[in-house]
Subunit: 221 residues, 2 copies
Amino acid sequence: MHSFTEENYIKAIYKLLESNDETVSTNAIAERMNTKAASVTDMLKKLSAKKLVNYQKYQGVTLTAKGEKTALNIIRKHRLWEMFLVEKFNFTWDEVHDVAEQLEHIQSEKLIDELDKFLNFPKVDPHGDPIPDAKGKLHLQKSKPLSQFNIDDVCVITGVVDHSPSFLRYLDKQGFVLGNEIKIKDMADFDRSLQISVNKRASFFISNDVAKNILVIAKQI
Amino acid sequence: MHSFTEENYIKAIYKLLESNDETVSTNAIAERMNTKAASVTDMLKKLSAKKLVNYQKYQGVTLTAKGEKTALNIIRKHRLWEMFLVEKFNFTWDEVHDVAEQLEHIQSEKLIDELDKFLNFPKVDPHGDPIPDAKGKLHLQKSKPLSQFNIDDVCVITGVVDHSPSFLRYLDKQGFVLGNEIKIKDMADFDRSLQISVNKRASFFISNDVAKNILVIAKQI
DNA sequence: ATTTATTTTTAGACTTATCTAAATTTTAAT
DNA sequence: ATTAAAATTTAGATAAGTCTAAAAATAAAT
Ligand SMILES: [Mn+2]
Ligand SMILES: [Mn+2]
Ligand SMILES: [Mn+2]
Ligand SMILES: [Mn+2]
């Protein structure tokens, strides 16, 4: 139906729309896909002809309903496969992304339905990102970066902003695990670095840069 | 490393070498891949440049050691995925091939090692075909078509020659299952059709055409 | 040993996805 | 309102894989 390349463009556009403005620029897509603006323009024409995007020269691009549905299906597959690799195949959360990038393009409705069932219909992937259901419905959790909390706040780790293997391995080394409880013990004014305790263990420091990349929700008390 | 297309050519050449002569013709490859001879020639030059095949104009083609190793790895992945789909995802043996054709190209050593382990290192796939081990070693079983046996012979179903969904579904309907015991009750001289009993159930007729496509080994008595 | 038929290869063209360099449009700055 | 800068699009090329039609080589038939 759609080529791998088309699917990757659709997904990139979806992610850019998700995190930013109401339309996506040619350059933004080019940067995210590690290609040149000229290539993006060519592809936008193709996707537009297929009614996957709303595109007018120089005016940026958005996804059509059909394009969004396509994007959500690819993301569903990506996240289910990541979950599978971690839960069943002993992959760590920093290892799964590259393989999932390949697996997300496999076409078989039955395969994905069975995968979902096999994993017992998970709601979030190993990075805490929500998994769209078979209908493309996606339940967002209203989490915020840890950097937005204050001294004595207690919150629960729900995900990450930065998905890079190096950041994920850093979190592993520090003992951060999704679902763990973080208490902010102290905050330095000059750089907003934090002294925190994870699951009531010995406290330690993290930079504001790290805090901005850890997603949490306030603990219900 | 190698494109999907290159991998598919390598696999096709391997299969043709396996079942037939000592070299493979351009036309044979074209037929198997549903392409034209001209396209095959182009690809053979490319594979030759990559040292995957031994190719000289007009002289047919064979695989190099490197090419054969590549082929066996793809076949290993294909058959492990077929096994996985049947054992874990409720696929029937007539449904798995098309999905495995996609999955066989996923690149991740760890994924395949874990898949193998998850399935407890199976020796044969759902169709009875041998699965190469991680080193590319392949243990062939010396089975023969049921059509080569005679009245009163007892044998065990080990595989199929024809892998088409329609043949596999026919076998399902008749109650043939790998490992089942077949006893030949009678044979018609004029068309070599057989009256057989599977696992000592009520006997029925099969054509010589069917018998030629069921692989068996003589039952040890 | 020629002629004929078949197989295989080459030549040239097309599609998808990419690039660089040049042209155009939009946006920002004077 | 011009001019300058940035973003975007077009033009023209390239590489992978495919095709048709024509040429060349091999195999088969007389
Ligand atoms: Mn991922
Ligand atoms: Mn993820
Ligand atoms: Mn198969
Ligand atoms: Mn098989």
